[in-house]
């Protein structure tokens, strides 16, 4: 896997792209390549991260404008081919807006922008994104969002539960998310969207390493 390259997408307004690249290159020795949102050539990357931030200034709705970028248009084929896509925070919002994941992310219940460490239960091992060898494992990751309240209709929620698509649930719900949902996968398991930031938990010196496993799992086939 020496040549395995993770594409880190850069939209106008992305602000976690360099953090993701630092975590992958500096902590995990995984090669990365920045992908400008106007590019639709994904031929030389093996996995993709949609990083956090405020793509297009969060205009209209978070992730709503990013959905129409050439890169997101090209993502459909990439996902269908089984390659892995990780959407973090604004990346998760883009994945729901563009229909790769069900539901939507709306304003936090208490209207606060929440910047905190949260404890999360790993609910599903689908896609191998988390290291849950134990029956019920808990990890701690930072969150930083104003619009992270996951919402979906009851039928979609049932489908998420029945098909084990809920990856992470907050132990103590910070934002009013339905069913305490913090992250979900698609049915195949190769797309993960989550509000917490694994790239900000990759070194003890900044408070923890619980995010390493998820980033490392980008190189799974």
């Amino acid at each position: 896997m020496d040549n395995f390259t993770v594409g880190v997408v850069v939209f106008p307004g992305s602000n976690c792209d360099r953090d993701v690249s630092w975590a992958l290159e500096g902590c995990l020795d995984i090669r990365t390549k920045y992908l400008w949102h106007e590019s639709s050539d994904l031929s030389d990357v093996d996995a993709i991260v949609l990083p956090g931030g405020f793509s297009y200034g969060d205009y209209l709705r978070c992730g709503a404008i990013a959905r129409f970028s050439p890169l997101i248009n090209a993502l459909d084929e990439f996902v269908k081919s089984g390659k892995r896509v990780l959407g973090i925070c604004n990346g998760f919002q883009i994945l729901t807006e563009s229909g790769f994941l069900p539901g939507a992310l709306v304003a936090n219940k208490n209207l606060n922008f929440i910047c905190d460490d949260v404890e999360l239960d790993i609910v599903s091992s689908k896609g191998g994104w988390f290291n849950n060898v134990d029956e019920k494992q808990t990890i701690k990751l930072p969150i930083a969002h104003g619009e992270g309240r996951y919402h979906c209709d009851p039928d979609t929620l049932k489908k998420l539960v029945d098909n084990e698509l809920i990856a992470l649930r907050y132990k103590k719900n910070p934002n009013g998310s339905s069913f305490d949902i913090a992250g979900i996968t698609n049915e195949k398991g190769n797309v993960l969207g989550l509000m917490p930031h694994p790239e900000r938990a990759c070194d003890e010196i900044i408070g923890g390493t619980d995010g390493l496993f998820t980033l490392k799992s980008l190189i799974l086939n």
Binding site: A107, R149, G176
Partner: protein, 84 residues
Amino acid sequence: MDQFAVKVFVRLRPSVLDPAGEATKSASIKLGAEGIKSLRIGKMIEVKIEGNGENEVREKIDLLCDRLFANTVIEDYEYSLEKL
């Protein structure tokens, strides 16, 4: 070509909690306004658009509302249309 002025209203679905609406309701009560039973905040989008007649313009606006202006997972929309 006819020109139309369209006003699109986008609202959170009734089942979706509107914390900004709740906060504004609370402030309205603090201002002394009485009798407010509910307050919800939406968006209004004004579009000037050309097309061959009302039907064609409605088709375009339907597409815009459904695919861009509203996220139908959480929002409903309606619009009014006026020929200029």
